[in-house]
């Protein structure tokens, strides 16, 4: 509780998807609907919103639990205030990445996408198999994803593994 950032909620609200955070009146239906919370009490949507509103920026952005959201949208659908908590979580995670916190899995995924344009490489071997099953050939990706990563300068926020 030593370092509070009272403006944190405005930072979250300015991110795409984060706008709804200030509408929360803490009813807790997000938490009651959350399948992750059912398994792991360390993940609690209502508490995360409170922490943001209280300005606990460091605690939130550096935590492991913000990455536990499964993106199921149960909270978003049931929220009486239109907070859209799934989108708020994306806003928080985007801020965490900008602050230098990113799970290894996302660094790996980003690299794979940059290299192949897809999460899985489809090579000649796959295409031979596909042909055997009567499926059309999948062409190699044309590097659009890689170019987009350059346009948005994604490497400024998402480091590469060396």
């Amino acid at each position: 509780m030593t370092e509070l950032s009272p403006k944190f909620k405005y930072e979250v609200a300015q991110e795409p998807g984060g706008e709804g955070i200030k509408l929360c009146f803490a009813c807790g239906i997000c938490t009651a609907s959350c399948p992750i919370r059912e398994i792991d009490e360390g993940y609690n949507p209502r508490r995360i919103i409170r922490m943001v509103l209280l300005g606990m920026k460091q605690r939130v952005l550096s935590s492991d639990f913000i990455w536990f959201c499964s993106s199921c949208y149960a909270c978003t659908e049931r929220c009486p205030q239109g907070v859209k908590f799934t989108d708020v979580m994306n806003a928080i995670k985007n801020l965490a990445v900008k602050a230098g916190y990113i799970p290894q899995a996302f660094i790996q995924q980003t690299q794979i996408l940059e290299q192949f344009g897809r999460l899985y490489e489809i090579d000649e071997f796959d295409n031979k198999k596909r042909a055997g099953f009567g499926l059309p050939k999948v062409e190699k990706a044309k590097g659009f994803t890689e170019k987009i990563f350059k346009i948005t300068e994604i490497e400024k926020n998402i480091p590469r593994n060396v």
Partner: protein, 293 residues
């Protein structure tokens, strides 16, 4: 009826059976697929870490279809959600669309401003464009002895505010109706609308497996013949990882998991081999014997 088929990364990498069954079913029902060579990842995996990139990846795929004047048919529910979200956003923000087109152009990716298109999950193409009545006319076999558990997954239904024609996410019916048209019984069960947990698989495997367990437990208690789903991510959890989950919790489920087009394909009289039913991880042999295929 013509669509640009957007299989998405996971179907190409791990869901050949889904793609095969989809193409076979489409042939019989008069759905024509075009396979553009310039589709790449929809952007979903990047959404939580770099929103701007997510938006541009989705937009570029949409532009690729716009140039061809084709609506997109998706197979993966995560792709459906992502592309729909971006598509609806761009429809309402002409300035942003113009800006992304200009940004891409400056970097050698040339798309003209195109007419808006629609994004539709294959299940919705079946349900809305073809319709239950038309499908019923083509059904050759009825499986009245099968109890099927529909698994809708999350992104096929939610968030409802991005979809043009959303279903009630607490009480959806399209997949149940599509199952019933094959003569099978679509069972009611308490875990029907639960999340598959694939969204956290890469972050916390134990957590992801714990989420799917109650559904497996319930379905093995009430002797369901098979689960039917419509998303390759869900299939990774329920079919590909079923053995691992059984080992983790020292339980036995033995629950065949089919993609909906595989079930429909059987009802349309398509050979099981052409529907890729041998590629499903959990054996479908006993199920096929039960329906005499």
């Amino acid at each position: 009826m013509k669509y640009a088929l957007y299989p998405g990364c996971t179907v190409l990498g791990r869901g050949r059976n889904y793609e095969m069954a989809t193409r076979e079913v489409a042939k019989i029902l008069g759905i024509e697929f075009v396979d553009p060579d310039d589709f790449e990842c929809c952007g979903f995996p990047i959404k939580s870490v770099h929103y701007e990139t997510f938006m541009m990846m989705g937009a570029r795929n949409i532009f690729a279809a716009e140039q061809k004047g084709l609506n997109i048919c998706t197979l993966c529910s995560a792709c459906t959600g992502s592309l729909t979200e971006v598509n609806e956003h761009l429809k309402g923000h002409f300035d942003e669309k113009t800006m992304i087109i200009a940004q891409l152009k400056r970097n050698g990716i040339n798309y003209r401003m195109g007419r808006n298109i629609a994004i539709k999950h294959f299940t919705k193409v079946l349900y809305e464009d073809i319709g239950i009545n038309e499908i019923e006319k083509q059904v050759k076999k009825k499986f009245s002895n099968l109890n099927i558990a529909a698994h809708y997954g999350c992104h096929y239904l939610k968030p409802t505010d991005i979809y043009i024609n959303p279903e009630d996410p607490e009480n959806p019916h399209s997949l149940d109706e599509l199952i019933r048209v094959t003569g099978a019984n679509s069972i009611d069960y308490s875990e029907k609308l639960s999340c598959c947990g694939a969204g956290v698989l890469a972050i916390n495997e134990d957590l992801a497996y714990s989420i799917v367990r109650p559904k497996f437990q319930e379905l093995s208690r009430n002797s369901t013949d098979a689960m039917v789903l419509i998303c390759p991510f869900c299939s990774v959890m329920y079919d590909d990882n079923q053995k691992k989950i059984e080992q983790k919790f020292e339980e036995k489920y033995d629950l065949p998991v089919l993609y909906y087009p595989q079930l429909l394909g059987l009802a349309l009289g398509i050979d099981a081999k052409l529907l890729g039913l041998r590629m499903n991880r959990v054996s479908t042999k006993a199920l096929l014997e039960k329906i005499g295929t």
